[in-house]
Amino acid sequence: MLNYIIRRVLYAIPILIGVNLITFTLFFVVNTPDDMARMQLGIKRVTPEAIAKWKQERGYDKPLMFNSGDEGFTKLTNTIFFEKSAAMFAFRFGRADDGRDIAYEIKSRMVPSLAIALPVFLLGLGVYIVFALIMVFFRATYVDFWGVVLCVALMSISSLFYIIAGQFLISKLWHLVPISGYGQELDAAKFLVLPVIIGVISGAGANTRWYRTLFLEEMGKDYVRTARAKGLPESAVLFGHVLRNAMIPILTGAVVVIPLLFLGSLIAESFFGIPGLGSYTIDAINSQDFAVVRAMVFLGSLLYIVGLILTDISYTLVDPRIRLE
């Protein structure tokens, strides 16, 4: 298994270089270093000298990808792309365009992101699986029918609607929890109730249907018939056999997103005033801060790759027949 993991880690390097290249190209197609300088220096009274100085200090005065003025290998290395990307592989994210330390920001913002994402993920997983199993248990009855209708309805509504409606009902009309904000330690709990509830509800439709489909597929298999023939109660069949055998597809969807939980949610964090990494990314995009955008995309790709490797490993845990070689 170790060989497999090493091989997968090595595969990750060209993927990350590719992601960096694409991010770099897309970003600089839209924003030139001059635009970035203007955004940071402000609109009023910005002189060309100030822009040139800003670019020089941050290394944006070099050619983007190919430095024809240099000799040999430095034609490639003495460029914005190489200088900004190479350090990332050593996890040196550097400074944001406004001078703030990116690694510090990521560290301090990871906890608030996780404070929402982790409960939503765990609670959601439990709720969706239980609901899906209930619908499977009551398959072909009114419970199953109306359950599917409800799921389709939930799927059809934008997550933004859930947020606005949730804030309106629970916070504005009923005054049960704060509309937005964030606190330290235990004080954070009252701010997290609403985003967690909304997070779980907004994902309920699609996920419950997905799990229901998985379970229904398993229900038609021989081992289920055998279990029933043995006289096992339906709950034992569902939770003891169907759920365990459906773990592979469940893990495929679930484990891969675990590392991405660190990156937070773009919309929810913005609406609920959660100072997490999702809102950090949004701010960076709005302020054309390439250093932060690049760091977050790199981190996102890396965590996704980690997620995929973890998924592969988790297969061996739930299915002894699988060997990673």
């Binding site: 009274r45 100030a50 009923w174 904000g181």
Partner: protein, 772 residues
């Protein structure tokens, strides 16, 4: 929520009404003898504890310990980029920096027109003019005689900086934190982690030090370019510093400290401990206004030395993150992702509430605190609120003390009375919310690129035709309608570039733009569209057709990328041009490309705006001054307009003191502008602000930003209102729970029936029955 709540036993007397209601429920559970799981009881107790923990409203986003305290609550959408006074220039930054830094001058809070008064200065600066030989000239000397001006500024003795680790000294008098070894920084993550602080008296040198910082090679002051034209030797000083800095960086590495005190600046020097001089090239009367901005606030050299240490910048411990000033407040918490907290500066030198104001101020109860010591508020908490919906709702719940009005909440907040006067709606009145309005010292205009052959014209005849075309469009685009539809009436159609409240602006009949308006029944009336059509025909486009080619006239309107909500305003603009049968093509682009087009002169018609830096007509009229053209000069004249007579008059006007002579020149300049119509003058926005009943001493002041010290909060009233407005409504949650349980019961019944109807037990019994 306090952690202690979960560990301490609950006393019955401390239970809230809701908690008391849950006790009988628990008793009922016991009395019925039904074997309920114990976890349900625990859950109820926990819920009760949670409810009790919130002694106030449940939706209160602030800690209970802050209840009833003299705190001002506000919100900010975008985090400030810079808090270093040498760099900070944005309106969202100055809300913070203006409370911390104290420049020598400030604007009178109540008097209008805006009046400069001393802040940290002991008196208004003395202005002395000198000729080339250094001979002092009389105050009425002509501009051509004046070689340089000296501003002599005396500051009040005894002013002290806020407590800060940069000043902390040991018993031997050595600075504690100026040469920190890296290992000592391991436990330092924020400024508050330094156990010792100190302070010292403010001196004139601190002001000189800050002026030198404008030229610091590692800082980017947005006003360096402008100030280097005026402050004698600043440009050369920047060169000197750059050379010295490069040499130091090579020798000592990136953390080399560039000691500005070692490099004297010819244009700024301390005369004695409390007096300093600023030497200005020629005459620049507007310089006094700059002395009221944080750019000229004092910075101690100790701050620069302290923050320049290796390892601190990596932890965001720098002047851009932790400002250091002498003002009424100091920033004690800077978490711009969540909140920024200002607290009273214990070393503030003291100031009193103004005892003079305008006649209306007496009626508005704005002079009640006359002579009272400032500041009134102990603490200011600004919370990060990115989205307008939660911000607005929290204002209505009483968790923010003031709010602006977004277009989506305008109808909920404001209604227009008979005379078009805006008042708050009944719902707002019931909450005691009041509305304050003020015309901003800014202008939103639509500019013509004068380098464009169609709207700018080529050759004498072409320019004349283009002028008539611009005049025709000026009449056709109905800004009264625009303000009414798209700004909810929050604006005044502009008659020229100068905003109301600024010297040079004229009201009434003599203030109207005769190219666009007639004075009818005591008010300006837009000229009929026929007048525009006539002008258009004279311009060579009868009925919107090119008289030479017969082709329809097509004009291009460059705008920055807009959302769908702005589509209607663009459609409206097209319709305005259609009145003249002109086809308007909207060229939508992102802001970067838009700026690029303007810089290169590739736009034809564009929208732009300007916020005044100071209340002088020069700050508006320079936007159309020839040498300020965008193309070629990278100035602020985006229309690239240049009229020799206007330029000449501007040169004369800019250095004059306000008065009849200056007004006459301004009138002539405005007449030239109206005739040439390089802009559609657009409108001056009117700002609306909503304030709760507990918020006092509010007077809109669009130029001074150090106003928090004047505000007053009735914290008791706020607490009472918050409790009234935010009573928790629990029945929907209980009803929801009941519905959920009710819907589960049939499922449980079915489940049990199925379980009983199938499985080994039933099967075995069936087999046994058959066998028997």
């Amino acid at each position: 929520m306090k952690a202690a709540v979960f560990t301490e036993p609950l006393k019955p007397s401390s239970l809230s009404p809701l908690a008391a209601a849950t006790v009988p429920l628990q008793n009922w559970i016991h009395k019925t003898g039904r074997a309920k799981p114990r976890c349900l009881e625990y859950l109820l107790v926990m819920l009760t504890a949670l409810m009790c923990a919130c002694s106030g409203p449940w939706n209160n986003p602030y800690p209970d310990s802050d209840a009833g305290k003299n705190i001002l609550y506000g919100a900010f959408a975008e985090r400030p980029k810079h808090l270093d006074p040498v760099q900070s220039y944005s309106s969202n930054e100055i809300l913070i920096t203006a409370q911390i830094y104290e420049p020598p001058l400030q604007y009178h809070y109540l008097k209008r027109p805006y009046e400069l008064i001393p802040a940290s200065a002991a008196k208004m600066p003395s202005v002395q003019y000198f000729d080339k030989k250094g001979t002092r000239l009389p105050d009425n000397a002509g501009d051509e005689q004046i070689a340089y001006t000296i501003y002599e500024i005396s500051i009040m003795p005894g002013i002290r900086f806020q407590p800060h680790p940069a000043f902390a000294k040991d018993q031997q008098g050595e600075f504690l934190y100026h040469r920190l070894p890296e290992k000592e920084l391991t436990d330092i993550h924020k400024l508050g982690d330094f156990p010792h602080t100190g302070s010292r008296e403010l001196t004139a040198e601190d002001y000189v030090f800050q002026i030198k910082r404008l030229a610091h090679p590692r800082l980017h002051s947005p006003i360096f370019g402008l100030m280097s034209d005026y402050i004698i030797g600043l440009k050369e000083y920047a060169e000197t510093l750059r050379t010295a800095d490069e040499a130091q960086l090579k020798e000592q590495g990136s953390d080399a400290y560039l000691d500005l005190n070692s490099y004297p600046l010819a244009g700024a020097e301390a005369v004695d401990r409390y007096t300093y001089h600023v030497k200005i090239n020629g005459k620049y009367p507007q310089f006094k206004y700059w002395l009221a901005m944080p750019f000229f606030a004092p910075i101690p050299w100790e701050a620069e030395r302290f923050y320049n240490q290796k390892g601190l910048a990596e932890k965001n411990i720098n002047l851009d993150w932790y400002p250091l000033g002498t003002g009424p407040y100091m920033l004690t918490k800077n978490d711009p992702n969540r909140m920024m907290v200002l607290e009273k500066n214990p070393n503030f030198h003291g100031e009193t509430y103004p005892s003079e104001g305008m006649p209306v101020d007496e009626q508005a109860d704005l002079l009640r605190d006359a002579g009272a010591p400032l500041p009134f508020i102990d603490k200011v908490i600004y919370s990060r609120e990115r989205e307008s919906i939660p911000r607005w709702n929290k204002f209505l719940q009483g968790y923010y003390d003031a709010s602006s009005i977004g277009s989506d909440s305008f109808d909920q907040a404001v209604q227009l009375a008979g005379q078009g006067e805006a008042t708050v709606t009944e719902a707002m009145q019931e909450q005691g919310i009041r509305l304050e309005t003020a015309v901003a010292t800014s202008t939103n205009y639509m500019g013509f690129n004068m380098l464009d052959p169609v709207v700018g014209g080529i050759g004498k005849q072409g320019r004349e035709a283009a002028r008539k075309l611009r005049q025709a469009i000026s009449i056709a685009v109905d800004y009264e309608e625009y303000v009414s539809i798209f700004a909810n009436g929050r604006g005044i159609p502009a008659q020229g570039p100068i905003a109301p409240g600024i010297a040079g602006h004229r009201e009434g009949k003599e203030g109207i733009n005769p190219v666009v308006y007639d004075w009818v029944d005591g008010r300006p009336r837009r000229k009929p569209i026929e007048a525009a059509r006539k002008l258009l025909a004279e311009a060579g486009y009868p009925d919107g057709m090119d008289a030479k080619t017969g082709a329809p006239l097509v004009l291009y309107f460059d705008v920055t990328t807009r959302g769908t909500e702005d589509k209607s305003s663009l459609d409206w603009m097209r319709k305005q041009f259609q009145k003249l049968n002109i086809q308007l093509v909207v060229r939508n682009t992102d802001y970067n490309r838009f700026q690029d087009k303007i810089r290169k002169g590739n736009a034809q018609i564009f929208e732009w705006g300007w916020n005044a830096d100071y209340p002088d007509p020069e700050n508006f009229l320079f936007l159309l001054y020839g040498p300020q053209q965008k193309v070629g000069s990278e100035g602020e004249n985006a229309a690239n307009y240049s009229n020799p007579e206007y330029n000449r008059l501007f040169d004369r006007m800019k250095n004059m003191e306000d008065g009849l002579k200056r007004q006459q020149i301004i009138d002539r300049m405005i007449t030239i502008l109206r005739h040439d119509s390089p802009w559609l003058w657009g409108y001056h926005p009117k700002e609306y602000g909503l304030y709760h009943a507990w918020y006092g001493n509010i007077k809109a002041n669009r130029l001074s930003h150090n106003n928090v010290k004047y505000f007053r909060i009735d914290a008791g009233l706020r607490e009472q209102k918050r409790s009234e407005w935010n009573k928790p409504v629990v029945w929907p949650a209980i009803a929801g729970l009941i519905v959920l349980v009710a819907s589960i019961i049939p499922a449980v019944v079915v489940y049990r029936r199925r379980e009983r109807g199938a499985g080994i037990t039933s099967t075995e019994s069936t087999i046994e029955t058959q066998m028997s």
